[in-house]
Symmetry: C2
Subunit: 326 residues, 2 copies
């Protein structure tokens, strides 16, 4: 079986987008349901998803386990898995890890750009690694089956998380720093720590993470994946498009500034270009995964490798990650 | 005028204690109203204080400005000032600094033992200093008139806070590490950074911060104050007793563990002695400030210095700290 999984999207959800998921043959999407939301606000976002599930049962349903990807394929729908880009949903309360896992939380970043109670974000000047609370929360996430995601974390924190965690961790959406030197992209030793501990890297299509941004060529993107596969292993690679389709620019401001600053922080943008950058023309939305599949074929991947990168690797990872530890 | 101010208490409040404040001639007390409480929980604690104020208007009232210390003296009552030992009441929301100042919040620690969103706590293995959000919040606290308290913070974070802050900061309750090498006590360069930037040190009577703990002698405590005055300046010294009178041991567990760990953390205690240690016999409660005053006289302080340490220094500090920046 070959699945198609996008392991990170944060679109302005609509029937149109759910239909595009079906057109693109996407079996599962890991969607962000919290950037800076606290517990109660995260619950509101879960309620909003419950309403989408109720309205469009023929297109989407709430995915909780690896088997739901299979079920999605069999019933011609897309399984929606929940994740948090920040530990804000657990606030300062380790007990909320289990509560949120029960409600479907499957990925949680230990930090988002800034220092959190658990780990350091990639925009801080210094990175002291995993905190006292962070060590406790990693153990709890391991226990209940919530995946540690370090996409927006700083290097040392990421390497320590990969080493401390008893279960494989993930970088759901980022690219190698060597290919595109954005602060958010990942240096070789970081990628190695994640993969050597059994983890996954999801390649991002967010233009700020791409060489030449919106102008990035498909061939360059696929060659970067081939280089990463050669250096590490194709079996630990997947996609995490970071597709923010149809979002107004106010949303990228919320992502960057949340409530932590009274000043605007432009993050990867600038005062001249504060909003979402346009996507590359070969990946506009969920209908374009076929372009990436063709691109991977062109740079020499074989059938199994392509199946792995397009979804089977994430599916295998889901299978060993979402259930409680034995 | 000589005032008597205790700049840190967290007792299990009762009519008995308020009467003891009056017996001890205490004009003002800075009370802790949050350890790990979030915004909403802090509001509940304010509501509880509003009920105390309503029930005992002849003993206590809500202190907001330096002039309230004068008013307390004139009306024979004790002014109660609010503070937080953790930034948990502002959660991740810089806008809550102004809201909480309006409700009477006058001191806020940037961290409590652990890493916070703003700064590092004294029990973390490493201290990267003030975070991105911390720098913003320091500016906002300066603007509205909320004092930065670094009592439970790590060394580098404290020194950076003293330097970054445009207004003097405080260590409301701690002693010199040289005298009693507890992790919570402060090294010389930390004390220097706070005092050289115009700030205040409040000496603690919590037994874990005292040489020989419960057995500490009054003379040793007062000699330590004299040494500190000689090295720095008597004008920047005061008291912050950390009196936790009548609290059950469950409260010290809340202070130490909050909700961040599923394991017990004994902090300054141990598995054998997990609870509150008994106070030294010369400082049992609010009635014993006279003992300290006599002890200060014995080690050679003059009248003005004693008046300063017993309350006038804090009063002067309140006067320049609690109003909005010009």
């Amino acid at each position: 079986m070959t699945f198609r999984i996008d392991n990170l999207q944060y679109a302005r959800w609509s029937e149109k987008i759910f239909r595009q998921m079906r057109e693109g043959g996407v079996d599962a999407v890991h969607v962000t349901i919290a950037y800076h939301e606290n517990f109660r606000e995260t619950i509101l976002n879960i309620e909003a998803w419950n309403r989408w599930f109720e309205r469009f049962p023929d297109l989407i349903f709430h995915g909780q386990w690896a088997s739901d990807v299979q079920q999605a394929r069999e019933t011609g729908r897309t399984a929606i898995f929940f994740g948090f880009q920040n530990p804000s949903p657990i606030e300062d309360d380790i007990g909320l890890v289990e509560v949120l896992h029960k409600l479907g939380g499957r990925f949680m970043q230990l930090s988002y750009n800034n220092q959190s109670l658990l780990a350091t974000g990639c925009y801080e000047a210094e990175d002291p690694g995993i905190t006292r609370m962070g060590k406790q929360v990693i153990r709890e996430m391991n226990r209940v089956g919530m995946v540690i995601d370090m996409s927006h974390s700083a290097d040392r924190s990421t390497i320590e998380a990969a080493d401390l965690s008893q279960r494989p961790i993930a970088i759901t959406h980022a690219n190698p720093y060597e290919w595109c030197p954005a602060l958010r992209n990942k240096r070789e030793d970081v990628i190695r720590a994640v993969i050597e501990n059994g983890g996954m890297i999801g390649f991002s299509l967010y233009p700020h993470h791409l060489l030449d941004k919106t102008e990035c060529r498909l061939e360059s993107f696929c060659t970067m994946i081939a280089d990463t596969a050669e250096r590490f292993s194709a079996a630990h690679l997947g996609l995490g498009s970071d597709l923010c389709q149809d979002q107004p620019d106010s949303v990228v401001e919320w992502m960057r500034v949340g409530r932590w600053s009274k000043e605007i922080d432009y993050g990867e943008g600038s005062a001249d270009a504060p909003g979402f950058p346009p996507m590359p023309d070969w990946f506009r939305d969920n209908r374009d995964f076929g372009n990436i599949e063709a691109g991977l074929r062109k740079v020499g991947f074989d059938f199994d490798e392509i199946a792995g990168i397009m979804g089977d690797n994430w599916h295998r990872f889901y299978d060993k990650s979402f259930e409680a530890a034995p």
